[in-house]
Symmetry: C2
């Protein structure tokens, strides 16, 4: 008997299905995971994942940063660090956020493994099973994936071209014991829309009156390529938990994000993170800090705005050219995504199979709803595909749409 069969046979002894915690039953989907897998097939033109443009990563600058960190401070960079995050990086973030009007001290910041971990930690310290969380519909699917395991009940508010329909908030908050409101104000994922200034003010006013806090997720705020910056909600009310990340402005593969919150909330989040993984990679934090301190990030962001604007423009023009009548889409002023609404009878989950045969991919709408809505919608990302390839991909998609539903 080989060891391999020994392993397999012994495994039968444990009835795993009876061992899993009840909360695991709430986790059924693995949409992001499957998206990431599709995007790794090189022959497919993928508008699916929200991947930054790989060809512009600051490879050379990051190599120099690794050199600086490892030749000067290796003993610190490779050793355990504090859970809160590398202090000089937090100090940099204090300055960075001040430029956007966000007043924070280092103690208001926790460094996380990307925004996804910040979402998980928020769920971990705030969501008891059955708690009501108010979300936009559609909303970021990673937030649903982070929170589902904690068993919230979602109540949804629709979006229009100016973001969340804040006029519907008051009624919901009167009727439902909402614990917090989750909002993506800038270049919404997946919808591509931006919350207007008037609605921002109204949202924090209503939330404060009902003593409900707001979780503001802002991964794309710096990637505005037209129009004026609007104030983050956290500048209007200090009880807002503000999440952001280096994923879209430096590198998602480094896994580096942060959350800004009142100090007592940060203390709870730090306890939660300590149990979850002790701390975020010291080495990665120090390398990112080196890049930031050499002022390499802002010029890079300016460049990314140009690149993504061109890609958005190409996608919008290609959709005008190739999509059949009856299809609508949003026109984002920044970020990576736009949202397409097809005629009522189209099922985008079914259509994805056709599209993948045509070697083009997107994310079907229902992934962004907690309840299966969005059946005739899809999210397209324009960030990680060159303009020429965007046109070809949209042509394929338009051709398949015309053939299937046209």
């Amino acid at each position: 008997m080989t060891k391999q069969t020994q392993r397999a046979e012994c495994t039968k002894g444990v009835e795993w299905d009876r061992c899993y915690a009840q909360r695991t039953q709430r986790v059924t989907s693995s949409a992001i995971r499957e998206i990431l897998k599709i995007t790794q097939q090189p022959e497919i033109i993928s508008f699916a994942g929200g991947l930054p443009a790989s060809e512009f990563f600051l490879a050379h600058e990051l190599e120099a940063a690794c050199h600086h960190v490892l030749s000067n401070e290796a003993q610190k960079a490779l050793q355990y660090g504090v859970t809160e995050g590398y202090p000089p990086l937090k100090a940099y973030l204090v300055d960075k956020m001040r430029k956007y009007g966000i007043v924070a001290e280092e103690d208001n910041i926790l460094i996380t493994n990307g925004s996804q971990q910040a979402l998980d930690l928020v769920g971990r310290i705030f969501i008891d099973s059955g708690d009501v969380v108010l979300i936009e519909a559609p909303t970021y699917l990673g937030a649903l994936q982070a929170w589902n395991i904690y068993g919230p009940r979602y109540v949804t508010v629709p979006l229009d071209d100016e973001g969340m329909r804040v006029d519907q908030l008051e009624n919901i908050l009167k009727q439902e014991p909402v614990k917090f409101i989750y909002v993506l104000p800038n270049f919404h994922n997946p919808a591509g829309v931006t919350l207007s200034l008037e609605r921002r003010k109204k949202l924090v006013e209503i939330a404060a009156r009902h003593k409900v806090f707001v979780v503001e997720d802002d991964p794309y705020g710096e990637l505005r390529f037209e129009g004026e910056d609007l104030p983050p909600l956290v500048t209007l009310d200090g009880s807002v938990l503000y999440l952001s990340t280096f994923s879209k402005i430096l590198s998602p593969g480094m896994r580096l994000g942060w959350i800004t919150a009142p100090k007592e909330v940060i203390n709870k989040l730090v306890q939660a993170k300590q149990g979850a993984d002790l701390h975020t990679s010291t080495f990665v934090q120090m390398v990112a800090n080196d890049i930031c301190r050499r002022d390499l990030l802002h010029p890079h962001v300016l460049k990314l705005r140009q690149i993504y604007k061109e890609r958005r423009d190409t996608m919008l023009a290609s959709m005008e050219k190739y999509f059949p009548p009856g299809v609508r889409w949003t026109r984002p002023q920044g970020g990576l995504f736009l949202w397409v609404t097809l005629p009522e009878h189209v099922d985008t989950t079914e259509f994805l199979k056709v599209a993948v045969e045509e070697k083009v991919a997107f994310v079907p709408g229902p992934a962004f709803y907690p309840d299966g809505r969005g059946r005739n919608c899809m999210r397209l990302s324009f960030s990680n595909v060159t303009p020429q390839v965007i046109e070809e991909g949209i042509r394929r998609l338009g051709q398949a749409l015309v053939r299937e539903f046209g």
Copy 2:
């Protein structure tokens, strides 16, 4: 009114204490965090944290690895990756573990942010509130911190010089609905003892008979500096979940560990990790993989064994020299820690305050128990202090012991 005061005032609107999830009430201690803070004060000789020797980190080799990765594969290293882990690193781990008799395929492995995240994910998918988890007493405090939030009830088995008192298992398993058994077989943290071969066999036999699975935590297994390697439990029973890490053999600051388990368990863990933080840093995984593929890790481990053996020897000899009669300690054959038992009337939590005044630190025993036992015990780590400084630190500790309890 400045923005700063505006922030503070607005924050008063939300009653945070009423917002936190019930599970956060289970998290009260933050022992590791406080330890890491003490160890950052340079004037203190710290035997507290389980920190590897910083001065031997492979700084130069890691710098070369960063160069290789960023000059050849930056677009992959800096981009999103799959949740399961970087496939070449998983393939390396398959080969590495085979040398210790562990039969695994890539699908049996999940890469995590250090072992701490593997512990958290195990808790997340297996522990419902009230579930019984069988632990050693004392046990790794990071496991308690990872799991407390999920609300287990701990049942404990004592240790002796041959590790867990496996002879007590049968009775406990007959009386308690144990979900899993958590064991640190090699150079136990904090106890420094190693589970004998006979007990390893008996443990997996009893567990299998009761259809209870085992979580085997093995961060130090390669750091054996005397005696013969003993088979990991997972080589005796394929249902064992086996956790290990690069933290003690390469760098804890990189945050890189892994868990080996039956494929269906890995699938559940992957879903959990996806919600928790999407994936472990692609960049860090690729840099570690480069080090491994150049065969730089094993020679480094051989060197660490020498260094830690010398430090252990110095600590043992210094304790003989400076500690008063009536103090006992373990004699580890590997790893980073040993465990000191003081006379019954000594309270090490109180004594720590005296020790810190003398500029020497350790971890008091109760941190390693779920129920406040270990009052007269302490953990000493010999890994991150040079022999000369070890002797001085033990001299200070012995002097304080004589003075206080003499």
